[in-house]
Symmetry: C2
Subunit: 451 residues, 2 copies
Amino acid sequence: MAFKIGLLGLGTVGAGTAQILLDPQGRHPLLQEIEIYRVGVRSLDKPRPVELPKGLLTTDLETIVTDPHVDIVVEVMGGLEPARSLILKAIANGKHVVTANKAVISRYGDEIFTAANQAGVYVMLEAAVGGGIPVIQPLKQALSVNRIHSVTGIVNGTTNYILSRMQTEGGEFSDILADAQQLGYAEADPTADVDGLDAADKMAILASLAFGERIKLPEIYCEGISKVSAADIAYAEKLGFAIKLLAIAKQDLPTPEKGTPDTETRNFAFLQVRVHPTLVPKTHPLASISGVYNAILVEGEPIGQVMFYGRGAGSGPTASAVVSDILNIAAILKSGGDAAKLHPLLSCSHQDYCANRQGRRFAIAPMEELVTRFYARFLTLDRPGVIGKLGTSFGNHHVSLESVVQTGIHGELAEIVVVTHDVREGNFRQALDEIRTLDTIDSIPSILRVL
Amino acid sequence: MAFKIGLLGLGTVGAGTAQILLDPQGRHPLLQEIEIYRVGVRSLDKPRPVELPKGLLTTDLETIVTDPHVDIVVEVMGGLEPARSLILKAIANGKHVVTANKAVISRYGDEIFTAANQAGVYVMLEAAVGGGIPVIQPLKQALSVNRIHSVTGIVNGTTNYILSRMQTEGGEFSDILADAQQLGYAEADPTADVDGLDAADKMAILASLAFGERIKLPEIYCEGISKVSAADIAYAEKLGFAIKLLAIAKQDLPTPEKGTPDTETRNFAFLQVRVHPTLVPKTHPLASISGVYNAILVEGEPIGQVMFYGRGAGSGPTASAVVSDILNIAAILKSGGDAAKLHPLLSCSHQDYCANRQGRRFAIAPMEELVTRFYARFLTLDRPGVIGKLGTSFGNHHVSLESVVQTGIHGELAEIVVVTHDVREGNFRQALDEIRTLDTIDSIPSILRVL
């Protein structure tokens, strides 16, 4: 056995990882040279779905990341601490690291990758985004010859499951969430999923890789799905859209209006990075991604559109990604790579990009500068002239409308659904502020962006 | 400039490749260290979409593959010869090779990879399948930790374009083919595309990688789309299917009926490898892949389903794949890999698999042993009892039916469409032979498999 693994965590993903490594027949032959050497767990006696020799398990995780025999530390325990500290200590001890921990990487990626590059080790994270879907590696390797224009993903299975069921069953968010919790598709505390925070973690990682820039979590605009109603799903359907929680990173070329904050570097541009429920045209490849599946669509020059699709979570898919990272490191070590020269496609190269440019290539675009279509639903008094007043207010703020439909009557109130053409978000918000002051307007229950 | 490219061919893909390499700004920084050193062309004076210093071009391609300064030979000329000989000569001269040539690899892969492994060089072929879609590299790397069960692809853009238009417009094959030829979506001689030969080339490559086995082109069952009629597309649509030209490689576990030709190697199994028009359920991820797009769906344990989607041809996408291979080789060379030890995930490892097993792991399953659903369309005399006779004949051969629908009358003849449950293809064929002898049966215009 050539390569020794120190596994931190033996939960769902850890057990899945061990199962692959313990049963290498019929897989890549190099897996037969990888040995599970130590496994760090919280309790030695807990029953596990995988059988390991008792002597391998320890509750002292520090001894694993400092053990001179361990080549690769595999962090699949989750959570911020002690995961972050153990990863840093492993790096300091010259171990390569494989992690499935999106939260640690999205928050402490800079610290971790800087340490890894200094120590001459790899930190691999295929499992942190999109479960088993190979997307991190394509972004680092095959797609990196392109100028990336956008990365658009359905990267949270729980919310996609809820929205898909709302679409097929017509139910309300809260009912389907409760059912999803009972079925194990949503956590007891669903906040991270339904508020879009998990998707934002993943988009911080994808955008950083796609644009060669360290995108910080607070820079990502984030809006969850809890306000999406059965009515919106039904109207979207009629208009030819599915509602999806999208994570989007998109390059905005500078325009005279937006200004060019730094014209020295030729490619300087604005970057939009955002997570929000979105009306996706049914003809778009992401519209048909349903249930717990994830998909990531990358657009670039000259490749055009490519999309990666698969199960975004679960023991098997995530373990497949973890083991593929282990295999990648083992392959580099086996091919006799010089430890002083990290493989430039496997190591983190944000530093290289930044060194080449001496600074950031992108500024994060403020949301009011976003140019997009909008969907909005209004409850109004049922009087003649209401649509005219709405149209006038939108016109006052240069918001042009694609369609205005009175969709029904709720008691005293009429319901009107508006879809705009591409407009500046700031202008649209100003129009809504004006509309809220109209005495014929009761409320604006929904405002959603359209892809 | 660290790495010198000898480019063989400056057509669509060659020019696209040169365009990326000449304009590296905003792409992976390593591309700045790659230099186009020599370009082999048939005519020096032909106008090109890309401007290169005149001194780079030569019509003497041999001098490129033997030039001691050239590190990587990029073969994008197409055709069998002289491409094959030049690739072999490049390898013999210690050059790494990047090729987009599916025909050469599917026919001479064994010879080429054996030579490359002996010479200690890489032969990379991402561009040979699926245009820009990263699928070769994921199969060699990320997915190789899985036991692959099946690879199912829409890998020919021309036929998918024709079938998609037949579906949306209701036209006949020959009319839409003629139009596609005028628009440049189909070749003047469309045989390789419409007869499924191009898809078979690509499936030979995908199946070889996915199953660690050298699949030979004549082992692939191949049926084109020229017999698919507007009527079949319309009936399929009504039944909830889209008709797609699928390339399928699928592992069949041994069963007592099929026998186990070699029980010594635990994983021995049958492999189906086939290309044919197929009814795909509309809910299946491949059903919505339309126009010139390609998609490859891989199923394995424990990853489940993953799918890769993008433009399957064209200058930009294909050049993206070519340059990603160049980048991969440059990265390995830069990280100081020992020339005596090839990177096990980038080199061809079929030899390793075979050495481990001392022989083939799969036997190619004969088509009569295939178990699948069928769709068949019959023209019959318009008499009572015809459906009963059809049903009896199918029953005689253990073919159970999912649906039988009389769909219309054509002059004197009634049209009946049958969809079977999963049946053994041999049994289904025997039933059809019996049905052809019935005096109430006029003809069987269509027989298609169902996914």
